[in-house]
């Protein structure tokens, strides 16, 4: 349990994963949204990586998360920008001035992130949004951390839960965001924001340092 998460590495890995999968995200968004989700997040995380590369020296992890969130808000637009931006800002505030992001701190941070997303977007589990992936991921992480599992395993469990949550959006009818305009026609497609949430949570596992 001495492992911690490097915010910069997390964002680097997230940017790489989003960029690599941008086309798939965009295709998912084309099916039930407006086809820009991959572009939106690619633009945003690219900016986050740049912001952290130039502006994070000497900053504590919490401050880095706030900087990342502000950068997402300022560069993404759309629905996912304010949502993920708020999530990371809330996460950062929850971390406060702690010097490292260990298991318990990460669990609290993701709790705060999820609360921010729900406060801003008013989505519940089952509405076919990123909340459907983030909620089980946060719960799995906390459970594993509280059970004393190594952080790597806890993150793996969270990623697995996120993936499961994203898959669970396929049969759902959307009740939030653009996809809700489709009514029944939204059924049968994975929610793009849930899919990108899987990438972001999975990226945590490649951002561990000892």
């Amino acid at each position: 349990m001495s492992a911690t998460v490097s915010v910069n590495a997390w964002m680097d890995e997230a940017a790489a994963a989003i960029t690599a999968d941008a086309d798939r995200l965009t295709q998912l968004d084309s099916a039930i949204g407006d086809g820009d989700h991959g572009l939106n997040l690619t633009r945003g995380f690219k900016a986050v990586v740049e912001a952290l590369a130039t502006g994070s020296d000497g900053l504590a992890p919490g401050r880095r998360l706030i900087l990342a969130g502000k950068t997402l808000v300022s560069t993404v637009g759309g629905a996912s920008g304010p949502l993920w931006g708020t999530a990371l800002r809330r996460a950062g505030r929850s971390v406060g001035d702690a010097e490292a992001l260990d298991g318990p701190a990460l669990a609290d941070a993701l709790d705060a992130a999820l609360a921010g997303v729900i406060e801003l977007g008013s989505a519940e589990v089952g509405d076919k949004t990123m909340v459907d992936a983030l909620t089980p991921a946060v719960a799995a992480l906390r459970g594993a951390v509280e059970a004393g599992q190594p952080l790597a395993d806890a993150i793996a469990a969270a990623a697995e839960a996120a993936a499961e949550g994203a898959r669970s959006t396929i049969p759902l009818q959307a009740r939030k965001g653009r996809a809700s305009y489709l009514g029944e026609r939204s059924i049968g497609h994975e929610d793009p924001g849930a899919a990108s949430t899987v990438l972001l949570i999975t990226a945590l596992g490649r951002a561990l340092e000892d």
Partner: protein, 340 residues
């Protein structure tokens, strides 16, 4: 079309910078009316800020031109903030626009009801409040194709946006205070309804491919302005049949008073030529008149578009004397101009 090949039928330098490049062209084309801050990606009235006048700010994803940049000017918007194509702008733009045009009398944000627009404008209004600027937000949600219920993000904001910007802009010009200007915009929204049909998909420059596949000879009924699919797909009807369907959708929901005077806004989605739009408009007016309603003002043309999508939308606003006077008031923007 571009679905067959990766190349596009588009006049661009670089898809990534299409909005910035377009704003640069807008700036040189209409330097008498507006100025563009390319760094902040906002369009501002040339004479902003106007001290003592309530300022109007709107914005949303690009790809709907002339909305909103083409509506900046006397009698309409003080600033517009375009996002990337079909993507809500970010709060930084909205805040920059708000501070650039605030003349001390407060700022009204005209927000189309899309999740992204709503959330970004919400964050921007919080930021503006931190800077001591009073912001009133008005939500536009006039698209009757969407069922407004617990099961959707609510009705989309479409054609009524143009009308709200014109009428609230005229109210601001005559000296209304911020609450009164917002009230006019809300009244427009509550008395206006819209409905659109698509005959083809648009092709966002970023992806270069159509958002949906629609074979020739079919139409998507109840379409949004971002390629959102509609209520259903049907064989393409005649202009008369389509007009009847649009009028029924809009009027049954609006339920105007018998003999009400209407502003009839027949809008082209981008790819439908004016030749056809006037055919549709003629049929719409006939439908309305046969229902005992009275078209009293009209707007016919491509004003809230969806790139090169073929199709059209109808927006009907139930007028009263005040709204009619505000419609007739002078306006001087790139896209709408009269009396000035």
């Amino acid at each position: 079309m571009a679905s067959a090949t990766p190349s596009m039928r588009k006049l661009l330098n670089d898809p990534e910078h299409v909005v910035r490049d377009s704003l640069a062209g807008l700036a040189v084309a209409h330097g008498d009316i507006l100025k563009v801050d390319l760094a902040a990606q906002i369009v501002v009235r040339a004479d902003a800020p106007r001290q003592g006048k309530v300022a109007l700010v709107s914005g949303g994803g690009a790809g709907h031109e002339p909305m909103h940049g083409g509506f900046v000017g006397l009698g309409m918007l003080d600033a517009a903030c375009p996002g990337a194509v079909f993507t809500s702008p970010v709060p930084d733009q909205m805040l920059a626009a708000t501070t650039a045009v605030d003349g001390g009398a407060g700022v009204v944000h005209i927000v189309k009801n899309y999740t992204g627009d709503v959330m970004n404008f919400k964050l921007a209004a919080e930021d503006a409040a931190d800077e001591g600027i009073a912001v009133e937000s008005v939500l536009i949600d006039d698209d009757v194709a969407v069922q407004d219920s617990l099961y959707t993000a609510g009705r989309r904001g479409v054609g009524a946006t143009v009308l709200a910007e014109k009428l609230a802009g005229a109210a601001a010009e005559r000296g209304d205070d911020v609450a009164a200007v917002a009230t006019i915009a809300r009244r427009v929204n509550s008395r206006a309804r819209s409905f659109g049909v698509a005959l083809s998909s648009c092709i966002p420059p970023g992806s270069g491919t159509p958002i949906f596949d629609l074979p020739a000879g079919e139409m998507e009924v109840g379409i949004g302005i971002h390629g959102e699919p509609g209520r259903r797909r049907e064989p393409l009807g005649t202009a008369r049949e389509i007009a009847a369907e649009m009028v029924e959708a809009v009027i049954s929901d609006l339920a105007p008073a018998d003999g009400a005077e209407l502003l009839v806004f027949t809008n082209a989605m981008g790819g439908t030529p004016l030749l056809e739009l006037y055919v549709l408009h003629g049929e719409i007016e006939r439908e309305l008149t046969e229902r005992g309603l009275r078209p009293a003002r009209r707007l016919v043309g491509p004003f809230i578009t969806s790139l090169e999508m073929a199709g059209a939308s109808l927006t009907v606003l139930e007028l009263d004397d005040e709204l009619t006077a505000l419609w007739d008031a002078p306006v001087n923007t790139a896209a709408l101009r009269w009396g000035a």
